[in-house]
């Protein structure tokens, strides 16, 4: 999943220290494994280099943890684009998708559109796979079926999430 974009998204609601960022990330997205500090700082450095964030203020004392980061206009645009674009449908997307949904809710964007866009992308691939099945041999069919089942699983998750959006919004913004 894209750590950079996620951290950017978290910054959109307001400037934070590196330490705060990590804590926020862990709280919302770090269920399996918490984010390493090093990764946070290296990501932030990259984002800084690309102009997507800027340093807002520095606490006295040294070290990267003392910096306070704020998102730039370019950064907001980047988050926007990232949320609006569907992910390439492939397995184990759920963490990314979940992050996107939460962030969309947090930043006041339409999560429904996001889900629907993703759904359309999934279906397009499914269509392609189905077409390939009709012309392929048995091995092709088996492989395509495998992929189709997984895509279907994702699609079902997207549907279910769409149905649960109100609940989720309440939980997330609390």
């Amino acid at each position: 999943m894209s750590i950079g974009h996620t951290l950017l998204g978290l910054l959109e609601s307001g400037p934070r220290h590196g330490y705060d960022l990590k804590r926020a990330f862990d709280e919302r997205f770090g269920h399996d494994r918490p984010l390493a500090y090093g990764q946070v700082y290296s990501t932030m450095a990259r984002l800084l280099k690309n102009g997507l964030v800027e340093v807002d203020g520095i606490e006295p004392g040294g070290g990267p943890e003392r910096k306070r980061y704020a998102i730039t206009e370019a950064g907001i645009t980047d988050v926007e684009r990232w949320l609006a674009e569907p992910e390439k449908p492939e397995p184990y997307l759920q963490t990314t998708l979940y992050a996107k949904v939460v962030l969309a809710l947090l930043t006041g964007r339409s999560a429904v559109d996001l889900l629907d866009t993703q759904r359309a992308a999934h279906l397009r691939l499914m269509r392609e796979l189905t077409r390939r099945k009709s012309t392929g041999d048995l091995a092709d069919q088996l492989i395509c079926d495998h992929a189709l089942f997984h895509l279907e699983a994702d699609l079902r998750w997207l549907e279910l999430t769409a149905a649960r959006l109100d609940q989720l919004a309440a939980a997330v913004t609390a």
Partner: protein, 246 residues
């Protein structure tokens, strides 16, 4: 693509009756329909072009079947209009809509659609006979379609004596035998196992493509919807064309 023009009509694949394939065949606008207090449809739209397969998806109770009924002229919407080849369906009399369904539309449902006392062959021949074709010609055409859908061997059995998958293919044959322009399929594979479902979908879409018929496919299964060209999602009575989304 399987070629060959084995229909009783004179359409060729995709081109319709000499019409521009991109022109809209069936246009539904702002449909509203309520059975009781909650509306089944609350401002749904759909546009169907000749020869394309459109999947209508959505959770149970979302109104997708109602949308299909309105499109086919089976149910009159409370408001909104459905135009088929530029004719307003609500303005037509019951006899005219009935005639339209005989000649231009075909239907496949999930279950309970074949007349149990007629043989499969007679079931498939029925739409033609209702339109006035003589029995022999109708049954010959029906036999051809049964062969095409790989169920020629059960022509003389009754629907109660064949398997679910075979029965659904008979239903598909019946839907297509009259050379319809639009086939309405409501959860056609709902009662079938995966393999039979795939078979039915493949045969249905291939045959529809060959004869140039458009298909409105109502389903809640993504893998079935994957046989379509385009998808419409119906939620809480409102529709959303997925093609416009991305």
């Amino acid at each position: 693509m399987s070629g060959g023009d084995r229909t009783t009509g004179n359409r060729t694949g995709g081109a319709g009756k000499g019409r521009n394939p991109a022109e809209a065949l069936l246009v539904a606008t702002a449909l509203r329909k309520a059975y009781g207090p909650t509306p089944a449809l609350d401002g749904a739209d759909l546009t169907l072009r000749a020869g394309e397969v459109v999947a209508v998806m959505g959770p149970s109770g979302s109104g997708k079947s109602t949308l299909l009924h309105c499109l086919a002229g089976l149910v009159r919407p409370d408001s909104g209009e459905v135009r088929y080849r530029d004719r307003e369906l609500s303005a037509m009399s019951d006899a005219e809509r009935s005639a339209l369904r005989r000649t231009d539309f075909g239907f496949v449902f999930q279950f309970g659609q074949l007349v149990p006392e007629l043989t499969c062959l007679e079931n498939v021949a029925m739409p033609l006979r209702l339109s006035g074709t003589r029995r022999r010609a109708a049954e010959a055409a029906a036999a051809g379609w049964l062969e095409r859908l790989e169920v020629g061997a059960i022509a003389d059995r009754r629907p109660g004596e064949v398997s679910g998958g075979q029965g659904q293919r008979v239903a598909v044959a019946r839907a297509l035998v009259g050379g319809p322009r639009v086939v309405f399929a409501d959860e056609p594979t709902g009662a079938l196992d995966s393999l039979n479902g795939e078979l039915v979908m493949r045969l249905l879409t291939e045959a529809a493509h060959d004869t140039g018929a458009a298909v409105v496919l109502v389903t809640h299964e993504p893998r079935v919807a994957a046989y379509s060209d385009r998808e419409i999602v119906v939620r809480d009575g409102k529709s959303r064309d997925m093609e416009r989304v991305s």
